[in-house]
C-alpha cells in the first residue's frame, strides 16, 4: 500500500520485527516484552502527571482571564458613563483580546483532557494484551508442536509489539502536545507580565497611562455619584449636571464618606 496507512504499517512492522529479532526464542520474547512494558508504564505515569500539571496551570490562567474580562467590562462601562468613549474603547479592545485568548485556552484544556484519557485507555489496553500474551504462551506450548508453537507465539508477540508501538505513539503525541501548550501558556504569561492586558486591571506599579486614566474616571465617577446622592439627601435637589460640576470642587468631603471606599475599590 503506497498511502499513509501503508507507510505506517511498514514503519511499525519494521520496528516490531526489530524488537522481536532481539529475542532468540518466544519465551525470551515474552520476558523482553514484559521488561519493555514495565519501562513503558513508568514513562506513562510520568506522561500523565505532566499532563495533569499542565492542565491545572492552564485552568488557573483561565480563571485569571475570566476575572480580567469582568473587570475590563466594568471599567468600560464606567468610562462610558463619564463620556470617555476613548477609554471605554481601549478597555473593550483589551477585553476582546483577553476573550480571544480565553477561547484558545478553553480548547487547549479540552484537548489535554482528551490526551489524558487516551493515555489511560492505552495503558489499560496494553496491560490486557500483555496479560493475554502471558497466558496464551503456555496454552500454545501445550497444544502445538515446538515449531508450530514458535510461529504462533511469534504472531502473538507481534500483536503485543504493535500494541506497544500504539501506546508509545499515544505517549509521544501527548508529550508533544503538552510541550506546545506549555510554550503557549508561557507566552501568554509573558504578555501578562509585560502589561499587555493584565496590568490594566491592577493597582500598584506597572500601570500604564490608560490604566490611570481609567481609574481616575472610575474614581471621579464614584465621587460624583456620591456627591449627587448626598445633595439629594441634603435636599438641595441638584440634578446630575450640577452634581458633576460640583464634583470637581468638592472632592474632599466625598473621600470622607465611607460608601465611597467600596466604589473606589471596585474600580480597582
Amino acid at each position: 500500500m503506497p498511502g499513509m496507512s501503508g507507510r505506517m504499517s511498514t514503519i511499525v512492522k519494521a520496528k516490531v520485527s526489530k524488537m522481536l529479532d532481539r529475542a532468540e526464542d518466544p519465551a525470551e520474547t515474552l520476558d523482553y516484552s514484559y521488561n519493555q512494558q514495565l519501562e513503558l508504564l513508568q514513562n506513562f505515569k510520568k506522561g500523565i502527571a505532566d499532563i495533569v500539571t499542565s492542565k491545572k496551570r492552564l485552568q488557573l490562567q483561565e480563571q485569571q482571564m475570566q476575572q480580567q474580562v469582568v473587570k475590563l467590562d466594568t471599567q468600560a462601562r464606567q468610562a462610558l458613563a463619564q463620556n470617555r468613549e476613548d477609554l471605554a474603547r481601549v478597555a473593550l479592545e483589551r477585553k476582546q483580546s483577553v476573550q480571544g485568548e480565553l477561547q484558545g485556552l478553553d480548547q487547549q484544556i479540552t484537548d489535554l483532557e482528551g490526551q489524558q484519557q487516551k493515555l489511560i485507555d492505552s495503558e489499560a489496553a496494553m496491560r490486557a494484551k500483555l496479560e493475554a500474551f502471558r497466558t496464551k504462551k503456555e496454552v500454545i506450548k501445550a497444544q502445538y508442536s515446538a515449531a508450530e508453537a514458535q510461529v504462533r507465539i511469534s504472531e502473538a508477540a507481534t500483536g503485543v509489539g504493535e500494541q506497544m508501538a500504539d501506546v508509545g505513539l499515544a505517549m509521544q503525541r501527548a508529550i508533544d502536545k503538552t510541550q506546545n501548550m506549555q510554550a503557549r501558556a508561557d507566552a501568554v504569561g509573558e504578555l501578562e507580565a509585560a502589561g499587555t492586558f493584565d496590568d490594566l486591571t491592577q493597582l500598584g506599579p506597572g500601570k500604564d497611562d490608560i490604566d490611570r486614566q481609567l481609574e481616575q474616571v472610575a474614581t471621579s465617577g464614584a465621587v460624583d455619584d456620591e456627591l449627587a446622592k448626598m445633595k439629594v439627601e441634603l435636599g438641595s435637589g441638584g440634578g446630575a449636571p450640577q452634581a458633576l460640576e460640583a464634583g470637581s470642587e468638592e472632592e474632599a468631603p466625598a473621600e470622607d464618606e465611607p460608601a465611597a471606599q467600596p466604589a473606589g475599590g471596585e474600580a480597582a
Binding site: 498511502g3 502473538a156 507481534t158
Partner: protein, 93 residues
C-alpha cells in the same frame, strides 16, 4: 484481514474490504501531498469510519498482527506531513 486504528484498537474485516480501504488511503495520501486541510480531515474520517463500520473490534486478549495500520483519527495535517513521512512519530517499541 486485521486493521489497526492507532489509539483505538484492532478490527477484523472481510478481505474484500482491502480494495476500498486502499482507495480511501490513496485519497488520504493525496490530501497530505496537496496540503489540503479540509480534504485531509475528510479523508481520514472516511477511512476510519469505513473500518469502524465494516469491521468487528478485536477483544483485548486477542493477539494478532495487523495487515494495515491507520494513523490516529485526530492526526493533524502537520503531523501527517512531518511525522508520518519518516520514522518520526512511531517510537521504538
Amino acid at each position: 484481514m486485521i486493521v489497526r486504528i492507532f489509539s483505538e484498537g484492532q478490527y477484523r474485516l472481510d478481505d474484500a474490504a482491502h480494495a476500498p480501504i486502499e482507495q480511501l488511503d490513496e485519497a488520504l495520501r493525496k490530501a497530505v501531498e496537496g496540503s489540503d486541510q479540509v480534504l485531509f480531515k475528510g479523508a481520514l474520517a472516511e477511512l476510519v469510519d469505513y473500518v469502524r463500520d465494516h469491521g468487528t473490534a478485536l477483544a483485548d486478549d486477542e493477539l494478532t498482527a495487523s495487515d494495515i495500520m491507520i494513523p490516529p483519527p485526530d492526526t493533524s495535517l502537520e503531523e501527517a506531513k512531518t511525522e508520518f513521512t519518516g520514522e518520526g512519530l512511531i517510537p521504538e517499541p
